[in-house]
Symmetry: C2
Subunit: 396 residues, 2 copies
């Protein structure tokens, strides 16, 4: 039987020995700055395009590691290399962040995707904490305010829905704001932080929760009613699980145990609902009425889903000591560790087929970079430390 | 050993007894007109949205069956029900066809997708042949001219690529124009038809063909050079196979045997390249350098890919009597018939996992309606008749 500390040591060791070194070694673009993220199993670069989501997330990761794990200059330098690149090339004339850039920084794909902005704000927020340079705070704050301005129509002129025809709201942006407002708390005015937190908790916990089914939905009508449409039936268990640990973080900050318990219950429910009884692992997408989801990749098992699920389980366990949390965590770990982790080359595989075999063995691409694996390994390590401290102060 | 006529009878019987009745029974919307295409295995409607691609394709299918197979009034009526619906609700103020409508015709998704227009032109062209009503010819012609006007930037303001940054041309539109100009030949001026055919043949056979690898590419640079990017590395064997029988049709019309033979060689090459040696079937997407495609569904086996492949093999066999065509056809039939066909409820399953098991069992959705199955069954039946006539005039 494994102890808390065994799991903690697994996370710590994988982070320090397998994951950070992979990105340090293979991702830096020494010619133009920024990072390669399209990396094969052994780290070979197979495409040089630079996706702003992933550039920003890697800046955030290395700045966070510098701020929280260890103030190693090379980590800060790596973060700064990405920041220089994004400062020079990342934004369009209206101050919105592009979606994709060429290796040399030329813009390729317009700023249609507000999550580029969300991750840029996180990146420059962490860099401000690392360097105390006001210019980074300024970028983070300006970006944050633009996100709030755009939040009602994040895709702007690229929104293909006929205005007013079926006004559904998506879960992803309010969910990310839950995390972003805590990330940027040191840079924002207190009142704005509290107001944003109130709004986020309300949106995520009330509007997107279907009390009849107990499910956290991906898209709801403007009044919070469910919609019997492809988008309205969509479930993304990984999203829900990630959001529930964001909410637990907010609950911890506010010392609101009831909120934490509610978020934890919903996380456990979504985990149970999203679990593949036949082949194990958590489905990527489901239809809440059991119809075929539009997404052909619905039955695949994705790295980030399983990492966010473990994080939700551990944070829930820390705050509630609910046995179900621990049981789910162990089950997830047993599924995840041997299938996603690549002991030989470092980092994790991203995409498994329903049966748990690899869809491909690349370590990164257009949507996978240096973010979920190091973040979750670091958080899980820290959460397990807190669990040990809280519940095993005097271990046998 | 099966004879030509056995296969012909399989196609004819499946079309008449399993496929046409499925759509006649389950798809008509008696309340608002038009068709439901989101149908479960047994035909139950699970979503009522109406996608213009699929509305138009079903009009085309039933009008074609009326024109070519048998002048049954109920088939024409079914086509007209869809046409009335599309005439009333299908176009925006600028005469472009919407992508999606609600059940009652309200527009849901803007006209960002030029293939809605391509299939609308085909639909109204066939309806003109069925009814001789000039208003249908007018719609088809106007739509065709608008397609030609938009062909250099088909997505218009919904194009998210930064102008000039990486000007790749996509294969799908020139490929469809190959077929569309033959479909609309009776409605267009002779000179325009010949000009369009010249241009289509050149684009499909020269610009998108990589002579070094022998591959038909999905996206090329403006000057026809290959591009080492996600889009530039993408292969879609089903697209290439469908395009090659379009070209063989053009070759037959022009009595250009050399063109037919070239198209057939390329079809056989793409079939061999796209075939899954491990698990059989044709991959949906591949990367020409062997890297992971961006599309997570790359290894799935899709109904239309296998139908278009059989059609290319049979048309190639008719025109060249190449033994490889027949061997490939038999191999494809043996793979396809037991896995995609649903003897119990009619129509075909659409999506198989790499291993040949169903991804889901629905008969239609946002992208699958009444089109590829009946078209290919009908064409294959007719091609086999011609093969029998040509090569077995005096069978033993």
């Amino acid at each position: 039987m494994k102890h808390f500390s065994d799991y903690r040591d697994h996370f710590a060791q994988a982070l320090r020995q397998e994951v950070i070194p992979f990105w340090e070694k293979h991702s830096p673009d020494s010619e133009y700055g920024g990072y390669f993220t399209c990396l094969l199993r052994d780290g070979t670069v197979y495409d040089t395009d630079k996706f702003v989501w992933l550039q920003a997330r890697q800046i955030w990761t290395f700045a966070s590691l510098y701020n929280q794990l260890e103030a190693r200059q090379e980590w800060l330098d790596l973060a700064l290399s990405g920041a220089d690149f994004l400062q020079q090339y990342g934004k369009d004339q209206e101050g919105r962040w592009y979606f994709a850039l060429a290796q040399d920084g030329r813009p390729l794909v317009q700023a249609y995707n507000i999550f580029s902005d969300c991750f840029a704000a996180m990146a420059f927020g962490q860099l401000f904490l690392a360097t105390n340079k006001e210019e980074y705070a300024e970028i983070a704050r300006n970006t944050f305010h633009k996100i709030l301005q755009r939040q009602d129509n994040p895709k702007g002129s690229y929104n293909k829905l006929v205005p007013g025809s079926r006004p559904l709201q998506g879960f992803a942006l309010p969910m990310i704001l839950c995390n972003l407002c805590l990330e940027l708390e040191p840079l924002l005015e207190k009142e704005q932080v509290e107001q944003t937190i109130d709004q986020c908790i309300h949106t995520v916990m009330d509007r997107f929760y279907d009390s009849e089914s107990g499910l956290v939905l991906e898209n709801v009508q403007a009044d919070g009613q469910v919609s019997d449409t492809f988008a309205g039936r969509l479930l993304n268990p990984g999203h829900a699980l990630e959001a529930m640990w964001f909410i637990m973080d907010l609950g911890a900050r506010r010392q609101d145990q009831a909120l934490i318990e509610k978020a934890n219950e919903r996380a456990l429910f979504m985990l149970d609902y999203g679990w593949d009884q036949q082949e194990q692992g958590i489905f990527y997408f489901l239809d809440r009425l059991g119809y075929p989801p539009e997404q052909l990749e619905w039955d695949q098992k994705l790295w980030w889903v399983h990492l966010e699920a473990m994080e939700a389980c551990l944070k829930g366990y820390l705050h509630t000591r609910n046995n179900q949390n621990w049981q789910w965590f162990e089950r997830l770990f047993a599924y995840t560790w041997p299938r996603f982790r690549d002991e030989q080359h470092g980092e994790w595989f991203g995409y498994l087929k329903r049966n748990g075999g690899p869809l491909h063995t690349a370590k990164g691409g257009k949507w996978k970079g240096c973010f979920h694996v190091p973040r979750a390994l670091w958080h899980n390590w820290q959460t397990l430390d807190k669990i040990i401290h809280k519940y095993e102060r005097d271990p046998k």
